[in-house]
């Protein structure tokens, strides 16, 4: 959040660079550094007659030979890169483990990330995660583990004097994680919460849905966590995932900081003693499918005034012989202030604050070449067309001499920054080792970039960039777009509704459980008025008050709920304090809501929830469960409000699975538990506590109901009057 706040505190960066991938690095001296001059010329600057930098001559750059990390391979197969840096009293270790979310089973998406997180938070066989937190934070040190898409990482950072403690914890976490259940649950809560929040940011919707369009929604490179995939993950899964990949022969360590190499090697050997190598059965890396064709996706989001646009297609490998020319082409097209996209879309047309592309490359599978842009809703298609035209122009004609020189000089002159931090030198060494690239890859790349020509650029752009086959995604308020999006191609509307979790799996039912359940349900049906009376119920009207717990405090509403079975209902509510009325109506063919701002159609998810509410009323529900085919099961007994109740599970009803808690004495239903839709449309685990049963027309009606969602009390309903089979004016269900 400090990050988020910073976006607002530190308002205005002049621009946001939209370039990814490694910083282009390298060559040792720039082409125009040859002339030397020791002292700056000291004349008065004449601001009106020449450019401020005119005539400046730069002295030669005094660049020392950059350090090369030392590589050591231990007997266990662990590879270590060491780089001493004695400037500050810190030691940092970064670890790469060959694993990743791409290797997860498809029904357990999230397993890799949760395994990584809980390796650290769940503690080790000798210390709990909370104990590790205390030790590390008292030393202002850190040890962290994470597993991303195609690699696992771990890190340690300590003040020099705490190296032994930090290293021991790092090794312990990698070798002996205990995966304590409480922290698995904590991590699952975090994942579920981020699923719930994933449609809040247009930018994250755009990157997620674009990946799905490019790779396919089920691809390991695009699939997302869902409530079900998170819920299905067990501790055993974590243990197995860790055991499979976390081995010394699958691990690369990078060590940076204030240490003596020989000494620290001894300490590392000691800390990882007993870690046994094993054959790693690494699945083949999933392929990126490369069938490219114009696809246009639209996600409608009404609470934004700017459209996030992304377009592109599968890219290329860094090892491709054309990569150096592609780097130059990408740079000229859309990376930095000098690029064409920046100048055309931002500077000349004022259509965007951020616009640009990436280098499109991957290490061992092709990357995705993509262009991003955010523009006001009213210029969505105009901006997209302008970007496409720039790509076409790159294909159609050679870039200018100035553009080529600008790009190549920029790479050469900034290459010194590839060596200005030892941390960067070391992390590059690790990255190249991990992906099996030559350690001098950057030097080679820069040497080749220097020789790229205009015709090289045009050739590779024409060969690799195909704007006519771009996948294009727009996320925004479609009703405000300047032109219909289908001018760009056939539009697929993407539904980003978050899938609700499936009901929890039903335990294996024994014959006895089923028979007992039927017996209990029969008794309950009797206690509630008998099947015959319950079946007779055609209409049900209840009048009373509902007290809701809202973030602003308690809110009392007067309500009238009218049901005409099987499928119509009307809910009228008044907030006396505000003199406001609202209605929700479920008619024969349509559902709508009426509020202070008028009437509007009820989204289908809420209409479905309305049908479920009707179904869960006692008369239809008890009638339904009397059917011989309905799967029911006795799960045991439980205390409800101080009285023992039998728990009966009714599976797969039209409203999902429902647990009924039936009081052992009165045989009344004293609790119902099921998955419902919360006030905000999110899935919730609801518990309903009916009480104060009174007989109306021979049927028991609960005059008091308490509703609890996810363990928090959300509402209490108290009836003043209930009517069964009273005449109901059908017109109230019509719009």
């Amino acid at each position: 959040m400090r990050n988020l706040l910073c976006c607002v505190i530190i308002w205005g960066c002049v621009f946001v660079v939209v370039a990814w991938g490694e910083k282009p690095l390298e060559a040792l001296e720039s082409s125009n550094m040859a002339m030397a001059a020791d002292t700056p010329n000291v004349e008065t600057m004449d601001v009106l007659s020449k450019k401020p930098h005119e005539g400046l001559v730069y002295p030669p750059l005094n660049q020392p030979q950059p350090p090369v990390p030392r590589r050591v391979e231990l007997d266990s197969g662990m590879i270590i890169y060491l780089l001493e840096d004695h400037e500050l009293p810190i030691v940092d270790i970064s670890v790469q483990i060959r694993t990743g979310a791409i290797y997860e089973p498809e029904d357990k998406i999230g397993l890799a990330a949760i395994t990584g997180a809980v390796m650290r938070t769940g503690g080790t066989t000798s210390k709990t995660g909370d104990e590790l937190d205390e030790i590390l934070e008292n030393l202002a040190a850190s040890v962290e583990v994470g597993i991303g898409g195609d690699s696992g990482t771990a890190s340690m950072s300590v003040l020099k004097e705490d190296l032994d403690t930090g290293l021991a914890i790092l090794a312990d976490v990698l070798m002996n994680p205990a995966f304590r259940e409480d922290k698995i649950e904590l991590e699952k809560v975090q994942h579920r919460s981020s699923i719930a929040r994933r449609n809040d940011s247009a930018r994250s919707i755009t990157s997620r849905e674009f990946r799905k369009l490019i790779h396919g929604a089920d691809s390991p490179y695009a699939r997302t966590t869902e409530y079900d995939t998170i819920n299905s993950i067990t501790r055993d899964d974590l243990v197995a995932f860790h055991a499979k990949y976390f081995r010394p022969n699958n691990t690369i360590l990078g060590v940076l900081g204030d240490f003596n190499s020989e000494e620290i090697l001894g300490k590392i050997r000691g800390a990882f003693t007993g870690w046994q190598p094993a054959e790693i059965d690494l699945p083949e890396k999933p392929k990126v499918h490369e069938d490219m064709a114009r696809r246009v996706g639209l996600v409608t989001k009404d609470d934004v005034n700017q459209t996030n646009i992304r377009m592109g297609h599968v890219g290329w490998l860094r090892s491709n012989e054309d990569y150096p020319a592609l780097v130059v082409g990408c740079q000229i097209l859309g990376i930095g202030f000098s690029s064409r996209l920046m100048n055309s879309i931002r500077v000349e047309k004022g259509l965007a604050y951020s616009v640009g592309n990436n280098y499109g490359a991957g290490y061992d599978v092709p990357g995705v070449f993509l262009i991003v842009c955010a523009t006001k809703s009213e210029s969505t298609v105009t901006a997209t067309e302008a970007i496409l035209a720039e790509v076409e122009r790159m294909r159609a004609e050679e870039v200018s001499d100035e553009e080529l020189k600008q790009a190549i000089d920029g790479f050469m002159n900034s290459s010194v920054f590839d060596y200005d931090s030892k941390g960067e030198i070391l992390s590059r060494a690790l990255r190249y080792a991990y992906y099996d690239y030559p350690q001098d890859f950057v030097e080679q790349l820069m040497a080749e970039i220097r020789n790229v020509t205009k015709s090289d650029v045009q050739r590779v752009v024409a060969k690799y960039m195909h704007p006519d086959q771009f996948t294009i995604l727009a996320v925004g308020k479609a009703s405000d777009f300047d032109k219909p999006l289908d001018s760009l191609g056939d539009v697929t509307e993407i539904d980003i509704t978050i899938p609700t979790p499936s009901p929890e799996p039903v335990p294996e039912a024994g014959e006895g459980d089923v028979a007992k359940a039927r017996e209990i349900l029969a008794a309950a049906t009797e206690a509630h008025g008998g099947l015959e009376n319950l079946k007779q119920v055609k209409t049900f009207v209840s009048i009373g008050e509902i007290v809701m717990n809202t973030p602003a405090g308690e809110m009392t509403m007067d309500g009238e709920f009218t049901v005409a079975l099987p499928g119509k209902s009307r809910n009228d509510m008044t907030i006396p304090a505000m003199g406001m009325t609202m209605s929700r109506v479920l008619g024969a063919d349509s559902a709508w809501m009426v509020g202070p701002q008028g009437s509007q159609t009820m989204p289908e998810v809420f209409a479905q929830e309305g049908r479920n509410v009707i179904f869960r009323l006692d008369p239809p529900l008890l009638t339904y469960v009397s059917g011989a085919e309905v799967p029911v099961q006795h799960l045991g007994e439980e205390d409800v409000n101080g009285q023992m109740a039998d728990v009966v599970l009714v599976s797969d009803t039209p409203a999902g699975s429902i647990k009924l808690f039936i009081d052992q004495e009165s045989k009344h239903i004293v609790k119902k538990a099921y998955q419902a839709l919360g006030q905000q449309g999110e899935p919730v685990q609801r518990e309903e506590f009916p009480g104060d049963y009174r007989v109306i027309s021979g049927v028991k009606v609960a005059f008091s109901i308490v509703l609890v969602d996810n363990g928090e009390k959300v509402a209490e309903v108290t009836l003043s009057e209930a009517k069964i089979n009273a005449e109901v004016d059908e017109s109230i269900f019509e719009q």
């Binding site: 809560v189 929040r197 994933r198 020189k405």
Partner: protein, 517 residues
């Protein structure tokens, strides 16, 4: 600011705040036992026009970072001109009378005409429904023609292109409530290029492509505020918490103010606030101090002295009761509450920093243990003082992103219980030790970056009154006692001094929220 693509499969990373950032922002400007020698290595030089240069030689790599901090930000803007500090920041990249133009005299003539037409357009706009549509149409056509005409003379990106070609990295600038900052790094043999270019933009600014750049800024606003629930929430919160002080206004500016701002206004703002005595520069890296001074004299010495700009005189009146703003949005709930606290120069501020650390820094912090670990009611919770700025009396902010199925209300209850606890019980010695140790380690780690150090030195010069203060902070932190914390908590964390800003998720029955402005 570099924008990174998030390749993971969940959006947590966006929401998971990293406590480190807190460290680098204020605890970061901290002390370091055993690092006193760094202070001794820092040199300063004041030009006769009043501009100060802070120089730190570090020769481990042939690069340097140059940083210019101007003591002007959103708080200094005149009423009706919100966002103008940021507008000028953008315009400072648009070149000079010689850089960025093909024919300055011709360009200037057209720009002057454009300004005149724009002024007339603006006087029509303010008439709102009484504006003459025919006249607006005609003026707009005239303006568009001039815009087309001027583009043959202007090359507003020449400044940035030149820097990119010469190997500059991290070219950027930011505007905050308190300051406007310009920075990038260069190979060390291009020190004179930095001097020439950086001085030229304050010596000879030409705000070319002004109106196009305002369109860019409007897109920036749409991205950060109009289309972002958290951006909308923070803008509402600032307005709620400050009745009088300009900290309550949006730094990026209101849309209508961005619309109507003129070149003349931006230039006047520049001339009033970009006095050399109101600017400080830091050079950190592989440079020779005497050469830096010599070049600074030559280039920056030409900037004429100006009167010291005025400070903000408004003092936010004491808050008399709890304030509350609730945004009903399509997005998931967010809870924020804020208390008025004094400026960074007040001795209590460092205590508030320690409180923020104890509440929310790391997994052993009180908020994390209670709200995230034990109750699993939040996925991200934190606290910090210094919002939206440090220079004047500001806000101590507490926030939480409730976990799925948990309400703001429940989060608020737990947060308030922790805050009440600070008022009644003393914090432990261990907690105080941890604050000190974090501050030290954070400072040491921050030394790795030339640019970070340059920024910290500049900021301290104006915000704390002296760059040396960053080396004294440890001392202040070591003096904090458990009683101080209890006293400060009781002084500021009171109901009448509290503002609550929250997002609650709309019920589907409510009308769609209109986006942004």
């Amino acid at each position: 600011m570099r924008q990174l693509i998030i390749t993971g499969t969940n959006t947590m990373k966006i929401l998971k705040p990293i406590a480190c950032l807190l460290l680098t922002l204020y605890a970061a400007a901290l002390y370091a036992a055993g690092f006193e020698d760094i202070e001794a290595q820092v040199q300063e030089h004041v030009l006769s026009n009043g501009m100060k240069f802070i120089i730190l030689e570090r020769h481990d790599a042939p690069v340097f970072s140059g940083y210019i901090y101007v003591n002007v930000g959103g708080v200094d803007e005149p009423v009706g001109n919100t966002g103008i500090a940021h507008v000028f920041e953008h315009m400072a990249f648009k070149g000079t009378t010689t850089l960025g133009t093909k024919d300055y005299q011709a360009e200037k003539a057209v720009m002057d005409e454009m300004d005149a037409v724009y002024d007339q357009l603006r006087s029509e706009w303010v008439k709102a429904d009484r504006a003459d549509p025919e006249r607006v149409k005609q003026l707009q056509a005239e303006f568009d023609a001039l815009q087309e005409k001027v583009s043959q003379y202007s090359d507003g990106e020449e400044y940035s292109k030149l820097l990119e070609q010469e190997g500059a990295v991290g070219i950027n600038a930011t505007t905050s409530a308190d300051s406007t900052e310009y920075f990038y790094s260069l190979p060390s043999n291009r020190l004179e290029l930095w001097m020439a270019l950086e001085s030229s933009r304050f010596l000879d600014p030409v705000m070319r492509e002004f109106f196009k750049e305002k369109d860019v800024i409007k897109e920036e606003r749409r991205g950060r505020v109009g289309s972002s629930p958290i951006g909308r929430l923070l803008e509402e919160m600032n307005g709620l918490a400050f009745l009088a002080h300009p900290y309550g206004r949006p730094i990026i500016g209101h849309m209508s103010d961005i619309n109507t701002t003129t070149r003349a206004e931006a230039l006047a703002f520049f001339e009033q606030f970009y006095a050399p005595s109101n600017m400080v520069a830091a050079i950190v890296g592989d440079v020779q101090t005497d050469q830096v001074i010599q070049m600074a004299e030559k280039y920056f010495g030409q900037i004429p002295s100006r009167a010291n700009p005025p400070l903000v005189e408004t003092i936010e009146p004491k808050q008399l009761g709890t304030r509350h703003v609730k945004l009903t949005e399509q997005s998931q709930p967010i809870f924020i509450c804020a208390y008025h606290v004094p400026s960074i120069r007040h001795p209590d501020f460092v205590v508030l920093g320690a409180i923020a650390d104890i509440l929310s820094s790391g997994r052993t912090s009180r908020f994390h243990k209670k709200l995230i670990r034990d109750e699993k009611a939040s996925i991200s919770v934190g606290a910090f003082p210094g919002y939206p700025g440090d220079k004047y009396a500001n806000l101590f902010v507490v926030y939480s992103f409730p976990a799925q199925g948990h309400s703001n209300e429940k989060n608020e209850e737990m947060i308030m219980a922790e805050i009440e606890n600070l008022k009644t019980e003393l914090v432990t010695e261990d907690e105080l030790k941890k604050v000190q140790r974090n501050a030290k380690a954070g400072f040491i780690r921050s030394l790795r970056s030339n640019q970070g150090l340059a920024a910290a030195l500049c900021t301290s010069e104006f915000i704390r009154g002296d760059w040396r203060e960053i080396f004294n902070l440890l001392e202040h932190i070591e003096k904090i006692t458990a009683e101080d914390i209890k006293r400060v908590a009781n002084e500021y964390f009171v109901d009448n001094n509290r503002s609550v800003a929250e997002i609650v998720t709309e019920e589907a029955s409510k009308e769609e929220t209109e986006a942004g402005e």
